[in-house]
């Protein structure tokens, strides 16, 4: 494995940002629906960013704009210094819905990015086998997506994402449908790979514990229209061991703090303090 093993920068503000949101706002349906407003955010190369906030607060919208699937209504999204104006092929995107191709078997689906890259057939077969083992899908290569459970399809989508090895990973609740053990295995693997290969990650989750466990920084959003409410630097070592994290008082304290931050907006008719329009 080649690649710089630069540890993820904890001091994101000092490094040259890889992804930058500048006053980003996005409205849909001719302005009837405002998804995000005035988002300013810099992501350093190699940084693992977790995004949390109430449902429908535009976290996925930010990922879509980073991928260049659509453009912001106001402001701009920059990637490596350039404005994202079209499909951004330097990112890989694992969406909430797996979007596996129903006419391909699981192995065929994972092979898609390798085929596009023009890798030789035998190499593809070996790589697919390795990735299926990694996500615990050994023996299911010949099954079609429609024959599998949601969790298995998620894992296949994850294997497909790893197969094309993009510089930046955009992940939208990738582990939501998994059982706790499989989730931990994949979290550990994701964290390990990202550190090893210096990946930059934008990771959307509803799970507060997961946001703290994985993130270098955790961005908390307000409810719609989504704005950055608070950016929390997770005070845990970059090479933290996720398997014993649950016994770590520092981790528990941070989870607790994040919980408290997120709880008020859930109650009806209480707006986030100081953010009234």
């Amino acid at each position: 494995m080649p690649g710089p093993t630069a540890p993820p920068s904890r001091k994101s503000s000092e490094a040259l940002p890889l992804i930058e949101f500048r006053n980003v706002g996005k409205t849909f349906a001719r302005g009837a629906l405002e998804a995000v407003r005035d988002v300013n955010l810099s992501v350093a190369p190699g940084e693992f960013l977790t995004l949390v906030g109430p449902s429908g607060c535009g976290k996925s919208t930010l990922l879509n704009m980073t991928a260049g699937l659509f453009l912001p209504t106001t402001g701009e999204v920059r990637y490596a210094g350039a404005v994202v104006a079209d499909i951004n092929v330097r990112v890989g995107y694992m969406t909430q819905v797996d979007h596996l191709l129903p006419w391909r078997t699981l192995a065929g689906n994972i092979a898609v990015p390798l085929e596009i890259a023009g890798r030789p057939k035998r190499e593809i077969a070996a790589e697919v086998e390795r990735l299926m083992t990694l996500v615990g899908l050994t023996g299911f290569g010949a099954s079609y997506p429609s024959q599998l459970s949601g969790g298995m399809r998620k894992r296949a989508a994850l294997a497909r994402l790893f197969a094309y090895d993009p510089e930046t990973l955009l992940m939208d609740e990738p582990f939501a449908a998994l059982d706790a053990q499989m989730r931990l295995v994949l979290q550990v693997e994701l964290k390990r790979l990202c550190r090893l290969l210096g990946k930059t990650v934008l990771f959307v989750t509803h799970d507060v514990d997961e946001a703290v466990a994985l993130g270098d920084r955790c961005i908390v959003f307000t409810s719609r229209p989504g704005r950055v409410r608070q950016a929390i630097t997770v005070d845990l070592p970059g090479d933290r061991d996720l398997r014993v994290l649950r016994y770590d008082p520092a981790y528990l304290a941070q989870c607790g703090a994040l919980w408290r931050l997120l709880t008020p907006p859930v109650e009806p008719a209480v707006a986030p303090q100081g953010r009234r329009e």
Binding site: A67, L69, I87, N88, V89, V91, G92, Y93, T95, V97, H99, L101, P102, W103, R104, V112, P113, E115, I116, A117, S143, Y144, S146, Q147, Y164, P166
Partner: protein, 254 residues
């Protein structure tokens, strides 16, 4: 159970026909099933039936392949190029609205009364059915799947072979299935208008000789031919879309 009921329906239908036709003095217009069968048997024994059926199959299948291939190709092309589709839409609608049977005399002038004229007639009907279905299928392709593949650096060729064609093929087959009887219409219509061979010729010549038994026999042969073509399509569907069988086999989630 169901095949038994179906067999019973056929038996009752044929029995009633067999008895009513002579009782009402209608043998001339409605030859009894027995007479039809005898006529069919004679045609089969002489080999004439297979000769004529072979000609018609050749025309229908060739027209089917010609119209199907062109319809699919142009359907994909226009499905991917919105501007081209918009420019060509009125012309295509105009030609589509034209009853293809009305083209037969022109086709005779152009191609003569041989097999090729029937092939083109059948092909012109099949083309539009497959074209319209393919076009629709290509437009229905999931934008998300295309976006995901484009993020993987896919070019237009990758999109075409990995997403668009596999996704549209369900629609293509719907068009093909719809086309089977129309390909036969094209071939048989051509034969009725001008030919000395084929099942259409067999019908018109039997009817010309006031041979209703022979006419019914030829109709049965056409029906059988359509069944065979339909089965061939179903077989091709199963081979080309194995994932469909997998989808049907799963338990329905709620």
């Amino acid at each position: 159970m169901i095949p038994l009921i179906q067999a019973a329906i056929v038996a009752v239908f044929l029995g009633t026909w067999q008895m009513l036709s002579p009782a009402l003095g209608l043998q001339f217009f409605f030859a009894t099933p027995l007479a039809v069968f005898q006529s069919l048997w004679a045609l089969m024994k002489s080999g004439l039936l297979f000769y004529h059926a072979g000609i018609t199959s050749l025309e229908a299948v060739a027209g089917f392949l010609l119209g199907g291939t062109l319809g699919m190709g142009i359907g994909i092309l226009l499905g991917r190029h919105q501007l081209l589709a918009k420019v060509l839409a009125p012309f295509l609608t105009a030609i589509y609205s034209l009853p293809k049977a009305a083209l037969a005399p022109l086709f005779i002038l152009w191609f003569g009364i041989g097999i090729d004229m029937k092939i083109f007639l059948a092909g012109s009907i099949v083309f539009f059915l497959v074209f319209l279905n393919t076009f629709h299928g290509v437009r229905e392709v999931s934008h998300e799947q295309i976006a995901i593949l484009r993020l993987m650096k896919a070019n237009e060729r990758h999109l075409l072979t990995k997403v668009i064609i596999p996704s549209a093929i369900v629609w293509v087959f719907a068009g093909l299935r719809l086309s089977v009887p129309y390909a036969l219409i094209g071939a048989i219509l051509g034969e009725i208008i001008a030919a000395n061979r084929g099942l259409g010729f067999l019908i018109s010549s039997a009817a010309g000789r006031f041979d209703t038994a022979g006419t019914f026999a030829a109709l049965i042969a056409i029906m059988f031919l359509a069944l065979v073509l339909n089965r061939a399509i179903t077989f091709a569907e199963g081979r080309l879309m194995p994932w469909r069988a997998a989808e049907e086999g799963r338990e329905v989630p709620i």
